[in-house]
Subunit: 518 residues, 2 copies
Amino acid sequence: MNNKFNINALGRKVPTDVNGNNAIPYMGIGKHKPTGRKYAPPIVSSSDYPSDGNKTIESLKAALIKSGIADGMTISTHHHFRNGDLVANQIFDIASELGIKNLTWVPSASFECHVPLIKYLEDGTIHHIEGSMNGSLGRFTSEGKMEGMGILRSHGGRYQAIQDGEVHIDIAVIAAPTADAFGNATGDRGPAACGLLGFALADSQYADKVIVVTDNLVPFPCYPWQIHGNLVDYVVLVDKVGLPEKIVSGTTEITKSPDRLLLAEMTAQFCNEAGIIKDGFSFQAGAGGTALSIGIYFAEILKKNGWKARFARGGSNKYLVNMLEGGLTDYILDGQTFDLEGVRSMRENSNHLNTSPFTSYNYHGKGNFSTMVDVVILGATEVDVNFNANVVTHSDGVLLHGIGGWQNCLFSKCTILPIPLFRDRISVIKDEVTTICGPGELIDVIVTERGIAINPLRKDLLEKLKGSSLPIKTIDELKAEGDAICGPAEKPRFTNKAVAVVKWVDGTIIDTIWQLEN
Amino acid sequence: MNNKFNINALGRKVPTDVNGNNAIPYMGIGKHKPTGRKYAPPIVSSSDYPSDGNKTIESLKAALIKSGIADGMTISTHHHFRNGDLVANQIFDIASELGIKNLTWVPSASFECHVPLIKYLEDGTIHHIEGSMNGSLGRFTSEGKMEGMGILRSHGGRYQAIQDGEVHIDIAVIAAPTADAFGNATGDRGPAACGLLGFALADSQYADKVIVVTDNLVPFPCYPWQIHGNLVDYVVLVDKVGLPEKIVSGTTEITKSPDRLLLAEMTAQFCNEAGIIKDGFSFQAGAGGTALSIGIYFAEILKKNGWKARFARGGSNKYLVNMLEGGLTDYILDGQTFDLEGVRSMRENSNHLNTSPFTSYNYHGKGNFSTMVDVVILGATEVDVNFNANVVTHSDGVLLHGIGGWQNCLFSKCTILPIPLFRDRISVIKDEVTTICGPGELIDVIVTERGIAINPLRKDLLEKLKGSSLPIKTIDELKAEGDAICGPAEKPRFTNKAVAVVKWVDGTIIDTIWQLEN
């Protein structure tokens, strides 16, 4: 690949051209002001749709053909079924059977269950993936085997890109646990219930053709209509739309590891001493064992003080549901359910709210919810001495994770990364991270088992933690401790070929993923 | 006004130019195929909005100024407060105070409470109204006193026009019974609760600037977020956003008139004999006394047979709520609450669904709900021998009513107009109606106290009603009876000046409102 590069505002080398499109280098937070207008889908007439509201069609293949599937098109899917998705692979099996080439796949995330698609990346059915590439697909990309350049976006960035027309989706395929023949669809019920379908919202609003695939067709009206049938072209009934046992995956139990429990306890104590936890506060913690444990500590602190959170942001799980049902939070604002209790609560409890990347994260909206959260707890694979953090590649340079809502959550009032100081004998604190996913100025606190580093920009937090019993250190001190224990880490070796880019929430390019040297 | 005219597919003379815009004559049902793309609002950046989510501003005036109010702009409001609206007049008081001229007002409907705006129509503050002009504003228009040409649209047509960019709204002002500082807003609670805010949905999605005005500010999140704060620029807190006692207006009691009860009974019997009422059926009846009474008959028939409707379309009221709570319908699909029981039910009952012109009526969607309703009961001021009907002008030629959802509802599987054969000694059945609002081919049945006329296009209904005890007649027979009783009616006398146009659901012009001769 013959590309030119720019140096962006973080000093990272980023391509000027991504898959034939001009790419804007990251300019700093809030510096890139978008111009132009949102993507405008073609106007349609309801006279071209069945008057009885029945849009069912015999098969996904028929729906894709009717939708005009052709070489070079962009096809999107969502990842609410996570590793239990049964639909995405079928799309490309059909495309391959039809001899269609050069498709762009825009999943909201991909998982190990999508490894069968590697053959279509190899044979030219799929040109490239825009969306997170977890595990094997990430490694495939890192090895330079994908024809086009991968594009990684946050959940909010994906909404922004589709809304703004940076990605034009020709055909969206929305797997739905329940739907009616008109195309109204919901994720909160049905044999493959996954909670909500918010990751597919932008697809439904902006794709030219929208196909709903379900294994649970109910009489009109299917309600809630998380996806509006008024945006849907075809409905396909299949035997099984997802594997329920794999839909609810990820870590859904609090950690039992003493190291992680220590991190959780230190983080909760930090929040308490900083005055973040109070009546009416709000928080977001992810689905990992450490994050779950922090939630438990938060709940205990609220309870002890007779306080109640105003809202907890999900990924929801049984612990958040316990808080909601136990009166420790007014609302769960949920973007993704991580276990069956989350699904049940969303279905039954009107204070368990269905949010989407549009409401929660879209940077090109008139504000979004992310900035109103008092504290978020996130992970990272690496952090550098300027608090820049990496969440997509490991220190060996391999792309292994998507961004998820991580970048979007950085806009909270306080962002804390509780991370072990070293993993596999490699210190996580670097002079420079392999891939910058989030600029350090948005990352407020790093909590490690050997000390807590507060971003010098947060003078208020430094002030509040003065005299704390917690081990407050500088990031340089933490780095020195990590280096002393682990020794100097080998840097990953890359070729000069860009295999993927990491977009910032505003559509600019914050960093590049490079091909691994053999 | 120097205008040219076309003759449309119904033979009506319609202007080629409406307020400087090219106008497409009505071409027949489903004949006009739209081209082009939906309106694309400018892309914004959340970095230009307050990060604490607080968009409150001290006054409506400040919000309008910040929104850039200027000569020639288009400003929209909704009519969920009906005759209790306190906000629309204030907007134009402010505009007048600022010396702004030539505004276009796009209400979803106007009422007698808006009569104070006549002075602004007279002094050039407001150039013209696009939206229903009930009562005095209609008469003002009919008298040729409005500077520009009025444009009447159905609820669905208004959504379509905004979506398609036929109307570009510069500033939408959304009065909301409850909202948070971020702009999330709901109609189902608060001192001025009106149920829902669906008529303002298009405005929130497509206007350049969106102002929410509320008298009940709650901590984030305001839920349900019938209006998404992510689309809102400013939030204004006022003392009183609407007069609750006038919000719930219209006829909300079943009729006691023996004539109307007869119409109701005949209509229900007709539906029963035609096999329309059955387990799982659906219906929509308006808020008038006759329509309410028909709903009562429907409920009785369901109960007697042990049946349950799948859904009842609202305008909701206590009678529909009784059906829902009594297990006689699975759902209310509500577009507008007509009484406090409707508001309560919408707030409390998750099977009382919040619909909008987008879901229910938009003709330029991938279908809409209106075509799936088994039977709708509507009114009309006049009907002609081709079943064309009028709902906006009276036989004296005066514009007195808006279209509401009337045109959209015609797409149901069976449309019935129960109307008295004569009113004020004038027969309602004409050779030609004063204004065609709906083409006869969509109107299936006319029920009068002296007989029922089935549209000859509905051979199935004619077949089913063979041998009925109901007085089935031809429309010509009904007309002859009316004429015999009332004698020939005087035709209204008009000048050749078009004062308003009636749009069809697809944006074409179905008829013209003419200036009354002095």
